[in-house]
Amino acid sequence: MQETFDFLSFSDPNVRLVVLGTMILGASSALVGAFAFLRKRALVGDAIAHAILPGVCLSFMISGSKNPFLLILGAFMSGWLGLLLIDAIQRTTKLKSDAAIGIILSVFFGLGILLLTGIQHNGNAAQAGLDKFLFGQAAAMSRLDIYVFAGIGLLLMIVILTFYKAFKLVSFNPDYAKVIGLPVKGLEILLSTLTVLAVAVGIQAVGVVLMAALLITPASGARFWTDKLGLMIFIATVFGAISAFLGSYVSYVAPSMPTGPWVVMFLSIITVASIWFAPKRGLSYRLKTQRANKRKILIENILKVFYHLGEKSEDFEKGRNIEQLMKSRGMREEEWNGGLKRLLRKNLVRRKADRWIITQQGLIEAQRIVRLHRLWEMYLNQRLKLEPDHVHNDAEAIEHIITPELEKQLEKELDHPIRDPHKSKIPYAN
């Protein structure tokens, strides 16, 4: 409890700095990542994160110091090289983007590990801490590190906000952007540069493997809440910052806990929750509407069976047993049972011993569906000049969707037809 209080009060200037630095890293990565996400280049970010390692090691081997500027410069250069090679492999060979990304990611990382272990084994005392690039340890950042990274993070945000409109166009419609005279190539290079920079600094917080999450995960989660780009980017940035805050909190309270994985953990939880719960686009909402639609279609189809049987025997009130019903429409037995039970509950059919009888209310509903079906067949036949034997399947699908307004319009367009193309009578209410 005491620790929570200490953490939240920000009384320790060191904590204040680390938390703020991590939050800026999380937010700026999310911001840049949103564009990578929209351009479907999420995994390229992963490759860049791995490709950075040899650059860091080489820059240390050449300069002999861990100056953050030099390390970032090395990281930046090898990240860009990786990016160029991915494009070159895709352009000049038959390999696709997945293989190109996999090759660059693993080979550059292997080379980085080779150099890193080489440096470590060769007993250079100054190297201690280079391996934090692997897993990231925000709490181990020095004051200078934090100033540099936070400065770059802020710079990234400013650049993105300045070129916001242009980036938006390039991400959604590069052809159009070219036509109206935007320097598309230049803007793409700028966006890639920002991505490489964001990765180079973000790695400090979460490490090589999890860097991809800092870019992709917030944007993916935000996408489920809105269709507006500005709002989506804002939400992604907030997700990034909140997760960074929570991750630093955990590793402050339990010092043996690594910051990076916890940041990613919180990010993933937020995003998976968004994927599941978000209104309209979320999975649970979608599954629910899917199920509801399926049920609606099922009972409407059953009502239609009653109507057709009644029409044939000219007796709508007659009871039918389950075998008779099943013979007229190929559906599984449990579908019949479930659908009939539902109809019973809605008072659209009633039951007499083993026979099912459609109620007055059910008959009205059945008439409505058959009417929509036949009106649509009529429409296809008259307006689209389709042959009468080509219209049934289409009507079978659309009868469940047509709204009362559309129904009225159809009736008016077709001037209240009496019979459908198959010469069956169209049932009107009264």
């Binding site: 996999g102 693993s106 993916s220």
Partner: protein, 291 residues
């Protein structure tokens, strides 16, 4: 003798990975292999916690479960939630990997797995872990036996399933029309990727498994149009990488697994240059013949 055992282990692992990797590359699923190789981590840790030892069987089961879970999660995000495929892959494997690292930190006392080992393995210690029978007979390092068993398993899998794998990799619709279980071969392949990954994990680490899965297969793909030749060439490249990697590592005094991946990359570079020259020659030939 140590050098021999290390190179042999590396070769066995690299060949197994390269063989299943060929099918991943052909199916354009290289990044799914990458995702699985990261995502098996929590499975390994949990198996470790449950069984209390580094026994191979619990780890295999744990990793295979996680491998399947990974593909299921990716499909769920992609097909059901309509999230784009690259983001679905990215979210899934980073999340599972993060869970794995957190589990390692939480149970640090019980688990003898450190974070570095997770990333780049410890193939250098392979010769130390010998398989001694109860009579004291020294049968050589355990890793060699396990790696050999894995290669045998993969060879058998490809031998038996060649037709199914072949058709589903090249033409899914045709396979469906023939009544071949596309989903079955998909999950069978993913299962073998998980098994290969987890066995290789201890020796070469998560990311270098990816190198062996993707790079030899891609290089071989550039050099031939024939699947059987592609499988052979990828194995040859895998063997060369293991061999060259060992001596490169000895020279630099660095990680053997890292060096093996580096050599792999160099060999890919050669294959790339060679295929580029060949296609240029072909273009010239075509131009000449049209004249």
């Amino acid at each position: 003798m140590d050098a021999f055992w290390i190179i042999l282990t590396g070769t066995l692992i690299a060949c197994s990975c390269a063989l299943v990797g060929c099918f991943l590359v052909l199916r354009k699923m290289a990044m799914v292999g990458d995702a699985i190789s990261h995502a098996v981590l929590p499975g390994i840790v949990l198996a470790y916690l449950v069984s209390g030892s580094r026994g191979s069987l619990p780890m295999l089961i744990g990793a295979a479960c996680l491998g399947i879970l990974t593909t299921v999660l990716i499909e769920l995000f992609y097909k059901k939630a309509k999230l784009q495929i690259d983001a679905s892959i990215g979210i899934t494997f980073t999340w599972l990997f993060a869970i794995g690292v957190i589990l390692i930190s939480v149970f640090a006392e019980q688990i003898d797995l450190d974070q570095d080992c997770v990333l780049y393995g410890e193939i250098a210690y392979v010769p130390l872990d010998l398989w001694l029978t109860s009579t004291g007979l020294n049968l050589g390092p355990q890793a060699v036996w396990i790696g050999g068993g894995m290669l045998l398993f993969i060879l058998l899998f490809i031998r038996i399933g060649y037709k199914g794998l072949f058709i589903t990799s090249f033409n899914e619709d045709f396979a469906k029309a023939l009544g071949i279980g596309v989903a079955f071969w998909h999950y069978a392949l993913m299962g073998s990727v998980s098994i290969t990954t987890v066995i290789s994990f201890e020796s070469v680490g998560a990311i270098l498994v990816v190198a062996f899965l993707v790079v030899p297969a891609s290089a071989a793909y550039l050099l031939t149009h024939d699947l059987k030749k592609m499988l052979l060439i990828s194995c040859a490249i895998a063997v060369l990488s293991a061999l060259g990697g060992y001596y490169l590592a000895a020279w630099i005094n660095g990680s053997i697994a890292g060096a093996m991946a580096t050599v792999c990359g160099l060999l890919f570079l050669f294959a790339w240059a060679f295929s580029g020259l060949k296609s240029r020659k072909n273009v010239k030939l075509m131009i000449n013949s049209t004249r």
